[in-house]
């Protein structure tokens, strides 16, 4: 009843067993809290800092796991695409195609996603203003697809830090439903070891600010064992802490809805 929705899951699909276990847990929590839930998993990671970073278990294998999660738990799914040819392929398996932040200025990719007729989730580039996202949204709607949403994953602040500009939430809601990615907006990029760092202790802080400023949804990467996740472990939420986090956020949302 006018709750926020949640995009959550592991960063990358590591195995079917892992995906199903995470989905089962998140479904049980979100069902109880009446949070509409979309399972999130990347079928490949194309933008790692280092060539030896984990990039996936195989495209089709990962996409089939996403489909299985969807059927098993009756939840929609979202995955990110990196090339024009990924759009049609991924559209056969998932409900939402996500354009990564680095790629949101690639017109061909955005249009290819729009042309599948699936929902398109545009991540705000770390280098983009909230206002400039209206042009990205327009590329989707001009392609005849009105199902578009925006996800804020923070903005570059110096070389080694990111910051969330909460003025951007009401701004971007003028263009499309707006999601706050609490995982990636806490990244600390360009660290000297070539692996992105983070501040996961701030997840609750950023998520509360997001709900208080009216986001339509939250994006959270979560894992039973963040320290051993094959990518983005630095900012993942331990799955055992998800229920408490969401319970608190639902309480804030209810208050906000009454103002």
């Amino acid at each position: 009843a006018n709750n926020f929705f949640l995009l959550a899951g592991p960063c990358a699909i590591e195995s079917e067993e892992m995906a199903l276990r995470i989905a089962e847990k998140v479904v049980s929590i979100t069902d109880a809290l009446q949070i509409p839930y979309v399972f999130k998993g990347s079928f490949k990671k194309a933008n790692r800092s280092r060539i030896d970073s984990f990039t996936g278990i195989g495209d089709e294998k990962a996409l089939k796991i996403l489909k299985k999660v969807s059927k098993t738990f009756q939840v929609p799914t979202v995955t990110d695409i990196h090339e024009v040819s990924d759009a049609a392929m991924a559209a056969e398996y998932v409900d939402i195609l996500q354009i990564p932040a680095f790629l949101v200025r690639q017109t061909d990719l955005v249009v290819a996603a729009a042309n599948t007729g699936k929902v398109v989730n545009l991540k705000k580039g770390q280098f983009m203003s909230p206002e400039s996202m209206q042009h990205a949204v327009k590329k989707v709607t001009d392609s005849g697809n009105d199902q578009v949403m925006i996800t804020d994953r923070g903005t570059m602040f110096g070389y080694q830090d990111m910051i969330v500009d909460f003025r951007g939430i009401p701004t971007m809601k003028q263009y499309a439903p707006t999601v706050l990615d609490v995982t990636h907006s806490l990244q600390q990029p360009n660290q000297s070891v070539g692996v992105t760092g983070g501040r996961p202790e701030m997840i609750g802080t950023i998520a509360r600010a997001g709900i208080a400023t009216g986001v339509d949804g939250l994006f959270i990467e979560t894992h039973f064992d963040p320290a051993n996740a094959k990518s983005d472990g630095a900012n993942m939420l331990d799955l055992n802490r998800l229920e408490k986090l969401l319970t608190d956020l639902v309480a804030i949302r209810k208050t906000i809805n009454q103002l």
Copy 2:
């Protein structure tokens, strides 16, 4: 009952009549909402962009008005100081001495404020990290004064914008009670006309995020007629909108207190 407190008033003291009218209105609102209230007014403005900007009605005259507001409404008052010699003078009239953001690295000034025994409110420099405020706090406590608080007024983001880093709220609360200045953190400095701009329509957004992330207090400049205020009009809250804003924030605070 564990509510946030409020530092509010006009930017500069323009006249006794204006100060008393504003105070009366804010007192009536905050009394009803059980918000501890501190009347704020600058007795001079020393850091305007242009030499022809308004700088005040006379130091002693303005300080006496602050004192009168305090006695009339039984509320504490806060004013900002700019030179070492201001500290002792202002301390005779007000309860809290505020160190402006540009001046928070001036050790002599901070120590002079601390030595008055009054509460010291340290504004975070626009050029400082939340973590670095611990050194400013320590200058006060090392002077034997434990009554110190921090106010965040945003951080430079490029030349012509500011941003509030909400990760800084829990960080700075480790050092001292932390206030969010919703007026100045919405400034847009370095505008070509030499007068700082702003985005007052974002006051509610930033204030909500502040309460949600646990600030101890809010700082709001307010005026019956922001467009004709003699300084900082760009981001002032119209006093007629204060009650609704605070009512909403109290509701969020109550929810946060229960989590």
Copy 3:
């Protein structure tokens, strides 16, 4: 004789006639100044802000024009690629494959470029530190291709400005020959109209600083009629001003070489 080299041309290939005219002019200037010259032209522009921006005259048609320029004037050519499949296609026509700044974190794309055996020109992401470019360079060399260079096109500074960090020049030269893109580093992105702005009057300033700090090459977009160029007109150098600019820079370079 230990001079800097030059990558220059129009932004996008608009027509064969235009490409040949520009090349002829630049060749005559660079021959006289003993500046090694690489003709630059994009065969498509995939990352425009707005869907109605110019995106090209047709991939193969544009690539054939690049080849014709190369044969006509005996100069190498460079073009940028946006998808993995572009790499092999473009490699048949040009000598240097350029990875756009937004895409330099796309491992698959960088590796595909490296695998062609052509020189790879990695643009530093606007969101990357100079130090982090070592990981991008390593993706090329780990693919068995040692012909790699880096081009700095500025770093995000707030939402609507970019800045060149000249500390990055000696830093990146440790990893690969380093080029300064004086055209794009003067961009002012996220302007409200959805078209990137610029400060072309600063081309000489930035180029002189680049030569003084030891860049190996310069990247300049130039056009006989910048105001009517189909893309990036905002920061293009008027071709009639190129000779004077390069003459001055060669003089500075000669001095630097003797220090």
Copy 4:
């Protein structure tokens, strides 16, 4: 003959012997290179991060040393002031009054400096755009003093880094002679230990870029033993490296003058 000028010396005046030794060395170098020289030394340091940082040997004692340096070597001197009352006091001993970057928005201080009739050197705030310095300059000239110059000491870039925006050099030269402070523009503030860090290996890089872009002067803190200087050691130039640095810069300047 149309050379750049140099403001150089230790950060703080530590002792008469130290000041005279440094001045003697710099005078001998700058005389040979025909560089107009101004001896620089702070008589107190009021803006340290930590209360236990070195703040000086006593105001009058330090100012008298500056006077002695001036008489001994027939060179003008510059020192920075922090409060209105410093202006008249320092003006009795030195030729140029410098407004620290943090304080350049303090109108009273700028006007007090202007009213002494001495040359006023305005440091650009780390939080200010080059364009906004015209307002600071105007405060001096509106006070009837036309002897004003600007010194760029870098601009905040994220929390822990600074950057020099060389587009600012021609911009600020429109308002007043412009100096590049190569020492402080290499600071890395807000470091976790409460002591500002730096990158002194970049002094040559930044200085060359400054000369190439047309600065009127350079500001360099230098010491025989930077590691043991009582303040700002992180970015000081070892005095034994000054001659080579300046010799190279004079060569670049001569070339620039001929363009």
